[in-house]
C-alpha cells in the first residue's frame, strides 16, 4: 500500500534527477591521452596535449589533434587549452605524461602535487622525462596503425618487461612522499623523428639530479627488483661473451646498528650464455666457472660504482634510508641526508650459468 503511494514519486524523481548534474557523453568531450610540459623560461611553461579523434569504424586509427599553450601556472594553461578546443577537455584517460629535462631540473613538485590531488587521474599513468622538447615527441607520428600515446605506452611497457625497472605515478609518489627513498622515471630522447629510451632519471624530491645511462640500467634493475630478462655482454680474454639473465633475485641486509649501519646488497643471478665467439672453448667446466667469476666481478664493480655516484649526489633511489627506517628504527629525512653519502654499501653478485645453449 505504501509502495503504491510512493512509487510514482520515486519514479518521477529518478527521471528528473538525471538532469541535475551537467554531464557530457564521450563524444562531446576531448579526452586527453598524452600530455607534455616544456620549460620556456624562468616563469613560463608550455604544455602540449594530444587528443585522439575516433572515427566510425573500429579498424580506423584515430587521428590526433595537438594543442599547445604557454602560460605561468597550470591553471592558466588549462584555461588556455580550453580556449583552443571546440569541446571541453577531460584528463580522465591520460596514459602518458612527459616533462622536459629543463623543467625537471628546475622542479616538478607543483606538477606532482597536482597529479596526486586530482581524482580523475589514474595511478598507473606513465610519467617520463624527455631530453629535448616534449612538443616534438608528442607531435611526431611514429606508427601508421597506432596513436602516439599508445606507441609511447607500448615502448615503455616493452622496455619495462625487459631491462627497465617498473615505473608509474603511484611508484613515483611512493618515493616522493616517503622518507629515505627517491624516485626515478624513464628518460626519453627524440632524434630525427625517432624516440628511444635512453636511461633513468633519478629525482631528489621533485628535482632531476642524476641520469642512469642505458648501459647501467640492467645493473640498476638488478638491484631494485627481481626479474628474468636482459642481456649483458662483457669482454673476456679478448673475446666478447654475452649472457642472458633468466632469473635474478636481490636481497638487502643491514649489518650493524641504526647509527652505524652497513648495507649489503646481495644478488643471485642465473644466466644462459647466448653469444660467444668461439664455442669450442666452452667445452670444459673450468671455462664456465671463469665466465661466472668474470660476470660477478663485472656486476659488482659496476653497481658499487653506481652506488658511489648516487651517494656523491645524495640521491637514494634504492631506498636504503627507507629500509633502515623500517628495520632498525626511526630516522628522519634530514638525518638521512646527512649520513647517506658516507654510509658503507657493499654489493655481492653471484652469477650462476645454468645453460650454454643448444650447441656446445
Amino acid at each position: 500500500m505504501e509502495f503504491k503511494k510512493l512509487s510514482p514519486i520515486i519514479l518521477a524523481i529518478t527521471v528528473f534527477l538525471t538532469g541535475c548534474i551537467p554531464h557530457q557523453s564521450v563524444e562531446e568531450v576531448s579526452l586527453v591521452s598524452l600530455s607534455g610540459c616544456d620549460y620556456v623560461d624562468e616563469e613560463l611553461t608550455e604544455c602540449t596535449v594530444a587528443i585522439p579523434h575516433y572515427g566510425r569504424s573500429k579498424e580506423e586509427v584515430p587521428t590526433e589533434q595537438y594543442l599547445s599553450y604557454t602560460a605561468k601556472t597550470m591553471k592558466e594553461i588549462d584555461n588556455g587549452l580550453e580556449s583552443k578546443s571546440p569541446r571541453p577537455i577531460r584528463m580522465g584517460k591520460l596514459s602518458v605524461a612527459l616533462y622536459d629535462e629543463d623543467l625537471a631540473i628546475k622542479d616538478l613538485s607543483d606538477i606532482i602535487d597536482m597529479l596526486a590531488r586530482d581524482p580523475h587521474i589514474g595511478r598507473d599513468v606513465q610519467l617520463g622525462i624527455v631530453g629535448g622538447k616534449t612538443k616534438k615527441v608528442i607531435g611526431t607520428k611514429y606508427s601508421e596503425n597506432q596513436t602516439t600515446a599508445d606507441y609511447l605506452l607500448g615502448l615503455v611497457e616493452q622496455n619495462e618487461r625487459n631491462i627497465f625497472p617498473k615505473t608509474n605515478l603511484h611508484r613515483f609518489l611512493y618515493a616522493y612522499y616517503g622518507r629515505g627513498i627517491d624516485g626515478y622515471l624513464p628518460y626519453f630522447l627524440w632524434e630525427e623523428g625517432e624516440v628511444r629510451m635512453e636511461g633513468l632519471a633519478l629525482f631528489k624530491g621533485g628535482k632531476f639530479v642524476h641520469l642512469v645511462t642505458n648501459d647501467e640500467v640492467l645493473t640498476f634493475k638488478m638491484m631494485v627488483q627481481n626479474f628474468n630478462q636482459g642481456v649483458q655482454a662483457i669482454e673476456l680474454d679478448g673475446e666478447e661473451v654475452a649472457m642472458e639473465n633468466i632469473g635474478s633475485k636481490v636481497k638487502y641486509k643491514i649489518e650493524g646498528n641504526k647509527d652505524n649501519p652497513k648495507f649489503v646488497i646481495s644478488v643471485k643471478m642465473n644466466g644462459v650464455i647466448s653469444e660467444i665467439s668461439d664455442l669450442n672453448i666452452l667445452e670444459t667446466n673450468k671455462r664456465v666457472k671463469k665466465i661466472e667469476a668474470a660476470f660477478s666481478s663485472f656486476f659488482e664493480k659496476k653497481s658499487k660504482n653506481m652506488v658511489a655516484q648516487f651517494q656523491e649526489k645524495n640521491v637514494d633511489p634504492l631506498g636504503l634510508g627507507h629500509l633502515l627506517h623500517h628495520r632498525k628504527g626511526e630516522i628522519t629525512q634530514e638525518e638521512w641526508n646527512m649520513r647517506y653519502p658516507d654510509v658503507p654499501v657493499d654489493v655481492q653478485v653471484t652469477v650462476d650459468i645454468i645453460q650454454t645453449g643448444i650447441s656446445s
Binding site: 595511478r123 603511484h170 616517503g178 623500517h326
Partner: protein
C-alpha cells in the same frame, strides 16, 4: 528472571531468523568509515595500528557479550532496560539521548558518503537533492519494517563482497617492509589508535533495539559474534593492504586510502575501477542509514506509543536540513571526529549499564522481590 519489565511481544511474522543477526550487526558496522580509516588510525600508533584493530575488535566482542547478558536479564530492549534501571523520567531522557545518537550515526554516514561522491565523481552535485532522494529511498525501507531492512543488509553484504578481491591488486606492488619494525609503538599509542577506530566499529549497539525481533535469541548470540569477527577481519586486511601499498609518510597525504587503492585496479574493459567501487558502496551505505533511522525512530514509538511514521518524517527532515547545511571538508571532518568521540562514550556506557544491572539484580533478590 525473564519477567519482561515493561515488556511487549513482537508478532512472529515481524521477526527475523537468528542467522540474520550476522548481517544486521556486520552491515551496520561497515560504512563510510572503511573508505578512509587507515590514515586516521595510523596517526597514533603508526604502522602498528593493525594491532589496535585487533584490540578494538576484542573490546567489541566483550561489549557484545555484555549487551547479550543485559538483554537476557531484562528480556526486552534498551527502553525496557532504561525504564527498569532508572525509572520513567530519567530512563525516558536517556532513551531520547540514544535516539538522537542513532540519528547522528545516520547523519555522519549520509553526509560523508555524499562528500565522497562530490569529491570523486560529481563536484557539482546538489547536496540536498541527492540527500532527499537517498532519504526517500531509506524511508521506503524503514517503513517496510525490520524484515525489509534485514533483506537490504543481506544484499549489501553480498554486493560488498567482490570488492574485497580487489585488495589483491595493490598487494602485488606493495612492500612488506613497511610493516616493520613490528610492535614498536607503545601501549598507550596502540590504545589511542584503537580509540580512533571506534567510528568504524560503531553500530553493533543497535542490537539493544532489534533484539526482541530475533526469533531464536540464544542461537543469535553466535551469529552476532561472527558478525563482529568478520568486521574486524575485513578492517585488519584493509589496513594491512593499505600499509603495505603506501609508506607511512605518503599515507598522511591520502584522505580516502581505500578508494585510492581501487585506482590501481585496471581491467582492459574498465580503466577506472574507483567509480564502480563508489557506486557499489551506495549499497553498503544504505542499510547503515536505514538501520540508524529505524532505531532512532523506534525509541519514541516505544516510549510515547505514537506511530513510527511520524517520528520518521521528523527525523528525515532533520537529516535533510543538517546535511544540506554542512558544506565543506572541515566541517565534515569535525562531524566525523565528533561522532567518533560520542560513539566512544556511548560504548563506555554499556559496561556501566551492565554493572548497574548486576547490582540491581543482587538488591532485588535480597529483598525477595
Amino acid at each position: 528472571m525473564n519477567d519482561a519489565k515493561g515488556g511487549f511481544n513482537v508478532p512472529e511474522n515481524l521477526m527475523v531468523t537468528s542467522t540474520m543477526t550476522f548481517f544486521l550487526v556486520h552491515s551496520m558496522q561497515v560504512g563510510v568509515g572503511m573508505l578512509g580509516f587507515e590514515k586516521y588510525i595510523a596517526e597514533g600508533a603508526g604502522y602498528d595500528a593493525w594491532i589496535s584493530i585487533l584490540v578494538a575488535g576484542i573490546a567489541v566482542h566483550l561489549l557484545l557479550w555484555m549487551i547479550y547478558r543485559l538483554l537476557q536479564d531484562c528480556g526486552g530492549d534498551l527502553v525496557s532496560i532504561h525504564n527498569f534501571l532508572f525509572g520513567k523520567y530519567l530512563g525516558g531522557l536517556l532513551n531520547l539521548v540514544f535516539s538522537v545518537y542513532f540519528l547522528l550515526l545516520s547523519l555522519t554516514v549520509l553526509r560523508t558518503f555524499v562528500e565522497v561522491i562530490q569529491v570523486w565523481v560529481f563536484p557539482q552535485l546538489n547536496v540536498w537533492l541527492f540527500a532527499l532522494v537517498y532519504l526517500l529511498l531509506a524511508y521506503y525501507f524503514v517503513i517496510g519494517g525490520l524484515r525489509v531492512i534485514t533483506g537490504m543488509c543481506l544484499l549489501s553484504v553480498m554486493l560488498g563482497l567482490p570488492l574485497l578481491f580487489f585488495k589483491f591488486f595493490p598487494l602485488q606492488i606493495g612492500d612488506v617492509n613497511n610493516l616493520y619494525p613490528m610492535i614498536d609503538a607503545s601501549v598507550s599509542e596502540i590504545l589511542s589508535s584503537a580509540k580512533t577506530s571506534t567510528l568504524s566499529f560503531l553500530g553493533f549497539e543497535l542490537l539493544l533495539l532489534f533484539y526482541p525481533f530475533i526469533k531464536d535469541q540464544k542461537a543469535s548470540k553466535k551469529w552476532a559474534h561472527f558478525g563482529v569477527f568478520y568486521t574486524t577481519m575485513i578492517y585488519l586486511v584493509s589496513a594491512i593492504v593499505a600499509f603495505i601499498y603506501y609508506n607511512e609518510d605518503q599515507l598522511q597525504h591520502i584522505t580516502w586510502a581505500t578508494i585510492s587503492l581501487w585506482k590501481i585496479v585496471d581491467f582492459p574493459f574498465l580503466q577506472r575501477f574507483e567509480y564502480m567501487g563508489i557506486g557499489l558502496w551506495a549499497y553498503v551505505v544504505l542499510p547503515n542509514i536505514c538501520l540508524g533511522l529505524w532505531a532512532a525512530s523506534r525509541i519514541p514509538k516505544r516510549m510515547f506509543k505514537i506511530k513510527q511514521k511520524y517520528v520518521l518524517w521528523l527525523y528525515l527532515v532533520i537529516l535533510l536540513v543538517i546535511s544540506s547545511l554542512i558544506d565543506n571538508r572541515r566541517t565534515i571532518d569535525a562531524l566525523n571526529t565528533f561522532t567518533n568521540q560520542v560513539g566512544f562514550y556511548f560504548l563506555l556506557y554499556i559496561p556501566v549499564l551492565f554493572i548497574l544491572m548486576f547490582i540491581m539484580k543482587k538488591v532485588r533478590y535480597r529483598h525477595g522481590i
